[in-house]
């Protein structure tokens, strides 16, 4: 191993060896030397706006800002001298001349904090609280560190109205210190460009163009600006006024198949904020509105089931778990295998799926365990699955020279893919977008096709088939001409590049010609030359099949590494379930639309929130949501990701595996003695080697659906239009998502 190159510097008489290329501030931070700063942020380029991080360096005139000065060999740096202290205090005073300071300098400060928590009969504000970020504020820390106890300048209150009209976060620019962090994170990290300094001098504010709302201006509500704000200017609607969080925990987002890492902050067992981790290699902290802002409202929804419920002639009755499990066991006892239908969401955890399939196969002896996408996609399921197994890891995007997005939009989801595409386009990759509406990638695209869905196939054909076939597709030719697209450049770029990538968005699932398009892509990928990334909304699709949550596929059977099978053949009859046949028992985990629920004698519904179907379930079993339970999922990159429990479950709700196992244990004693995750993993390990500690990407077999395709019926997929978790649309539960959905439909 070669020794890493270092430069030696001296900070405050301490000799240090640091990596070259660091700034003084970074070098100091790495060695636990505190230099106050407000505008610097770890993952943003240097800026040098707040002037608080000034230091003295031998041989450099004046007081350079440490966040913009790179270290050099032999540098002698002082961070704490009387002169620096005086200067910093003066700078901070000027900074605070436009920032309300009652929480900073007040003779009654201590008492105020003690009495703010007074219990009254009615809501009462004690002390002055006009900052929602109290006790989480970086300015409070800095004032303390710099030792400022009073300010000699009068505070100028700018008197801006607080902006509350956008979903998810409020803005009070009276508290803003114009450090520019929010603008830089919006432009440099999210590559979104919604925020900008407006006007100048004393009138400077931050926001989008022409007094537009953030929603109108193309804000993605990723909340990155809110994370980095050092003051209370930007605050999350659902996390305001909470003060400091008391716990935080990491978990994996379950809202789509990327599986971003989330840091959930909690106070009194409630989730108050959900933050990204910029060091996470998978998502790089580029989480979307779903993971950032939807969790609090979804998990703490007032509509959540608190106890099991039984339908009686006079309505639903709350019952105990004992009774609920007894009723379920009694109803299931003795039913014949083909009289049962188990409909499951693909957003359950691996362990839940394992227990569910074991229950179906070992207790009832039935193969009728059906993930809902199988019914929606019908015969296209196999094609879609095959494309998903070919899906590349996200880092491929950054090394690709030609990217073709089809029906993909990353405004309100799939940001880690979208931002990587934007980055590649900025670095010079040729980006072609195809959609029937404007998308957030169009601005940076070299060619963007906004065409009706019926013309998609032609455009795809021209791009993928590359040459010769253009004459046939006159419609597409017209579009190319109208769009003022430089066809020669496009063709040249196509023939020149070897690494070509298709990014398939969720809109393809609702395309009337879905079968034809998916087949075309499958053919292209098999032929070679193109790679693919499928942005699929089914969080744990891979895990569902791997753990046997699919008819006639046993746990581990779909793993190529385990069976050696490249292609697994399933019969189409299996896929074409008779949805009109009357059943004795239907068990739904998640949600299903009415058209999938045939007549039945008894309906069990296991989910956290009320269902969207009209039929009244006979028994309701309340289950946990992902921040309340441990487990694993397999994401679109084919990696096993850990989901960890962050808060205690709501009321009496239980994990899905626990519910299913408890019913199973009543029917066949000794078969379902699962106490915790480890015991389930122990059993899965016997079928899938190394589970769940497999670090490498898994490899899956393709599916060959034998039989004719002519019978395929087209069912629109709800996941293509709205974000859905366990069958329930986020917009039904989360108020801000409803606002966004309304704006999309306008």
């Amino acid at each position: 191993m070669t020794k890493e190159k270092t430069v030696s510097i001296t900070i405050d008489n301490k000799k240090l060896h640091v990596k070259p290329g660091l700034t003084i501030l970074q070098a100091a931070k790495a060695n636990n030397i505190y230099i106050p700063s407000l505008c610097a942020f770890e993952h943003l380029p240097s800026y040098g706006a707040c002037r608080l991080c000034i230091v003295e360096v031998d041989g450099i005139r004046g007081f350079p800002t440490s966040c913009t000065t790179p270290v050099e060999d032999g540098m002698v740096i002082r961070t704490e001298t009387q002169e620096l202290r005086n200067l910093r205090q003066e700078v901070l005073k000027l900074l605070l001349s436009e920032h309300p300071a009652s929480c900073l300098f007040c003779s009654d400060k201590e008492e105020c904090i003690n009495f703010q928590g007074t219990i009254r009969k009615v809501g009462n504000t004690t002390g002055c609280r006009y900052c929602p970020n109290d006790h989480r504020c970086e300015i409070q820390t800095i004032v303390e560190k710099i030792g400022l106890t009073e300010t000699s300048y009068p505070v100028y209150y700018r008197n801006f109205p607080v902006e509350k009209y956008d979903p998810f976060y409020d803005r009070d620019y009276n508290l803003c210190i114009l450090c520019g962090r929010c603008i830089r994170v919006c432009n440099d990290i999210r590559l979104n460009g919604t925020l900008s300094f407006k006007q100048r001098g004393q009138k400077t504010t931050i926001g989008p163009a022409f007094d537009r709302t953030h929603l109108e201006a193309g804000c993605e509500f990723c909340g990155a600006c809110v994370n980095v704000c050092p003051t209370g200017a930007l605050s999350v609607k659902t996390g305001k006024w909470y003060g400091k969080q008391d716990k935080e925990g990491e978990t994996t987002c379950n809202f789509c198949s990327i599986g971003c890492k989330l840091i959930l902050q909690t106070k009194n067992e409630s989730i108050v904020d959900s933050l990204p981790d910029y060091d996470s290699p998978l998502d790089k902290g580029l989480i979307c509105v779903k993971g950032r802002f939807s969790i609090t409202e979804y998990v703490h929804s007032p509509w959540r089931y608190s106890t099991p419920m039984e339908m009686t002639p006079v309505g639903y009755n709350n019952i105990t778990w004992e009774k609920a499990l007894d009723i379920a066991a009694e109803k299931i006892k003795g039913v014949k295998p083909d009289e049962v239908l188990m409909l499951i969401s693909t957003q359950l955890l691996n362990e839940d799926i394992y227990c569910t399939q074991k229950f179906m196969r070992k207790i009832i002896g039935s193969e009728h365990i059906i993930p809902t996408p199988l019914i929606y996609l019908n015969n296209d399921f196999a094609t879609y699955w095959n494309l998903c197994t070919e899906s590349q890891p996200l880092e491929v995007i950054e090394n690709t020279q030609f990217i073709f997005t089809v029906g993909f939009d990353s405004t309100y989801g799939y940001s880690p893919i979208g931002i990587r595409i934007k980055k590649a386009a900025k670095a010079g990759a040729y980006l072609v977008t195809l959609n029937d509406k404007e998308t957030n990638l169009d601005l940076l695209a070299s060619a963007s096709f906004q065409v009706e869905k019926k013309a998609w196939y032609d455009v795809i054909e021209i791009l993928i088939a590359r040459d010769g076939k253009e004459k046939k597709h006159t419609e597409a030719q017209k579009i190319l001409k109208e769009g003022a697209i430089d066809l020669n450049r496009l063709k040249k770029s196509l023939s020149k590049t070897k690494d070509k990538l298709i990014v398939l968005g969720q809109d393809i699932l609702n395309h009337p010609e879905r079968t034809r398009l998916l087949d075309r892509f499958e053919k292209t990928i098999t032929k070679g030359g193109w790679k693919i990334i499928v942005a699929n909304p089914y969080t744990n699709l891979k895990g569902t099949l791997m753990l046997g949550g699919f008819p006639y596929i046993m746990p581990g059977d779909i793993l190529k590494t385990q069976t050696g099978e490249k292609v697994k053949t399933i019969k189409t009859q299996i896929v074409n379930f008779d949805l009109n046949k009357k059943r004795k028992l239907i068990y739904i985990i998640g949600d299903a639309p009415d058209l999938m629920i045939p007549d039945c004698d008894f309906l069990i519904y296991q989910n956290a929130l009320p269902a969207s179907f009209k039929k009244m379930p006979d028994l309701i079993l309340p289950s946990n949501l992902f921040p309340e339970t441990d487990g694993t999922i397999i994401n679109m990159e084919d990696r096993i990701l850990m989901v960890k429990k962050v808060i205690e479950p709501y009321m009496e709700s239980k994990p899905d595996w626990w519910i299913i196992s408890a019913i199973g244990e009543r029917l066949k004693k000794g078969k379902f003695q699962f106490k915790d995750m480890q015991s389930i993993h122990g059993e899965i390990k016997k079928l899938i080697k190394g589970f769940p500690k497999i670090k490498d990407r898994l490899e899956f077999s393709r599916i060959n659906a034998a039989g004719s395709k002519k019978t395929a019926r087209f069912t629109p997929v709800p996941e293509a239009k709205r974000a859905i978790y366990r069958g329930i649309a986020l917009s039904e539960v989360v108020s801000g998502m409803k606002v966004i959905e309304r704006s999309l439909n306008e």
């Binding site: 432009n187 979104n192 460009g193 919604t194 900008s196 300094f197 989008p208 163009a209 201006a217």
Partner: protein
């Protein structure tokens, strides 16, 4: 409009550093930078509309609403300020019911401030179109406005 703005684009390279020259040309030709123009420029230069607005609102030379039939400029240079220029501006804002930098809804006047018109001896000074009015008072100004249609 879209045709003429395309003509402007032809003169400038498709590079982000051409933003200000393009904005200046737009301002010269249309008298203001409209939201539609910003949208067009955004597509051409691949910069978001918000960023373009951020840059252009920094400079006093760009305006974002169509100019009125007559433009009123109130001088707020040192001399005019001392002799009551700010009061004149305040009165105009009240009378015309617009903010400094805007245009009245009937497009009769647009109102703006300038730093100095170079005739401090005549302060406070108001310029309407090309005429300079010296030693203005609130009452004189109110009378004067009536003569402009």
């Amino acid at each position: 409009m879209s045709d003429t703005i395309d003509l402007i684009f032809e003169k400038y390279e498709r590079a982000q550093d051409q933003l200000i020259p393009i904005l200046q040309e737009v301002q010269r030709q249309y008298g203001y930078v409209s939201p539609e123009a910003v949208k067009k420029i955004s597509r051409y230069l691949k910069i978001t509309e918000n960023q373009i607005y951020g840059v252009s609102s920094f400079y006093a030379q760009f305006r974002f609403s169509a100019p009125g039939r007559h433009s009123i400029r109130v001088c707020l240079g040192t001399a005019c300020h001392v002799r009551g220029g700010a009061t004149l501006l305040e009165m105009l804002e009240r009378e015309l019911d617009i903010k400094c930098g805007d245009t009245t809804s009937d497009k009769r006047f647009d109102l703006d401030r300038v730093a100095c018109l170079g005739c401090c001896a005549l302060s406070p000074v108001v310029q309407i179109d090309k005429d300079i009015y010296s030693r203005m008072t609130v009452t004189k100004l109110a009378e004067l406005l009536k003569s402009y249609e």
